[in-house]
Point group: C2
Chain length 286, copies 2
């Protein structure tokens, strides 16, 4: 299935990014060090963290996982972030989402020092991204950028639909495409005319995390699908779409797994590199 | 013309906002003080500044205009911002845009201390707005919020087209509507199907600053038009549309002048109030 011509696979892109990162960081005396905060033991989170740990290790980067119990207090997360902010050994801090539902996720992520905010979820880094002022991008935006560059997917003047408007995925995707002069529509659960929107747009970004976000009968051979959804069911990863059906209809589609997911991990390692003080004011290298 | 039923005028909304601000700030020992930096003597800028000065004075707020010559160095603007950042008498700093074309406008605006960033154009305040984390909004977003609240314009699930994707106007408008669960499309100069988009959307936000952004023949009686454009020609203010024609077709339309413009000044005074240390952690009052 993965060998079909219209699958936008990401393994080669990741190889290139990691080679570029190694070229820069191999010259450094001390390597970047990523600290990951995990609350509870969500199976999908454990899987994503294992992927990050593996890539960090392949690059020779340091990695620490701090696992708080699922019934810890929000206060404990703040205390931990404050400790890691001050820890000179730690160059990047990441809170593995989702946090427990009772926690104020977006307030907690704001506690991370912007110089260590490798997920780019704090107000300062998000704002820099929004006004197009810095080279550190949220993982989703960087992943889409790498994908479109690699496959020469032209974006200027194109009609792009983002299904889902979350801070983590939908908003960064919409902002990136709009900055590239695409015409962007952002839908959400209250959208009443999704079928019409899917038919009127060429690039469709699925960012709902829910199955069957798009009815495959709405798709046609001009569509390019970027599926950012990642659900885990019976220890297999699924996207927002039925890829077996969709891939037979559309022009191009990112597979799940093997599409956007690995690119967001590569983006994380890019941010760990770029935010490291040793990187300095280098020009863009990736 | 202004008495037509379908004009979304803003004078009463402004009166209410100013009354709310006065109620809060009349109790304060020292009033907010706005410092405006103007480079050159752009006639539209002088006009907008006069409006801000008048409203500040009506509220009893302090106001300083620092006018640098049009051939000053960028360095001088940075030096001035640094001085104003430290000046305890100054509680809000605003750079009147546009700056000279050779200047890096977005880098300069980043130099303003976030605690005095009343225009909300710095990365930190923009980011807070993007992730919906704070009550200080960019002027355009606040103006639209006040307008929709006052006229009970329902937004959830509605199709909204933003024509123009600037950091100053288009992006904040798009983000605000998306946060209110509207389905939002952002177009730009590279958009190829503007006519279709205008016809497919109900609320149309014109944010181009150019004449005839929308062909009036595309409009129908269901449209609600929010015209944020402000051009000055022969010392008269014009929006993006021909309002005489458009107002006869559409359901509702903001006049220019007397629509969004005065609301952005009211929004500025709100931000001057909310960011003042004396405001503390008050709940939303406006």
């Amino acid at each position: 299935m993965m060998s079909q011509m219209n699958y936008l696979t990401s393994d080669k892109i990741c190889d290139q990014v990691y080679a570029s990162i190694k070229k820069v960081t191999d010259l450094w005396q001390s390597k970047p060090h990523l600290a990951v905060i995990l609350v509870g033991e969500h199976p999908a989170s454990l899987r994503f963290i294992a992927h990050k740990k593996k890539q960090a290790s392949l690059l020779g980067f340091g990695f620490s996982l701090i696992n708080l119990s699922s019934n810890c207090l929000e206060e404990e997360v703040y205390d931990l972030i404050n400790l890691l902010n001050k820890d000179k050994k730690v160059s990047g801090i990441l809170i593995q989402l989702p946090l427990p539902k009772s926690f104020n996720t977006w307030q907690i992520t704001q506690a991370i020092d912007p110089n260590k905010d490798v997920d780019c979820l704090g107000a300062f880094r998000m704002g820099q991204f929004l006004i197009n002022a810095y080279k550190v991008l949220p993982g989703t935006a960087q992943a889409i950028r790498l994908l479109c560059n690699h496959y020469n997917i032209s974006v200027i003047g194109r009609n792009v639909l983002i299904i889902g408007s979350s801070n983590l995925v939908g908003k960064p995707a919409a902002i990136w495409f709009s900055q590239q002069e695409a015409t962007v529509t952002i839908s959400n659960l209250k959208t009443t005319n999704l079928e019409q929107l899917v038919k009127n747009n060429t690039i469709i970004v699925c960012a709902t995390g829910a199955a069957n976000a798009v009815n495959e009968s709405w798709l046609n051979r001009h569509h390019i699908i970027i599926d950012i959804g990642t659900r885990i069911k019976n220890s297999k990863v699924y996207g927002d779409l039925n890829h077996e059906t969709a891939s037979k209809i559309v022009n191009q589609i990112t597979p799940v797994p093997g599409g956007i997911g690995p690119l967001t991990v590569a983006a994380l390692m890019m941010n760990l590199t770029i935010l490291n003080p040793q990187y300095g004011n280098n020009d863009e290298i990736f």
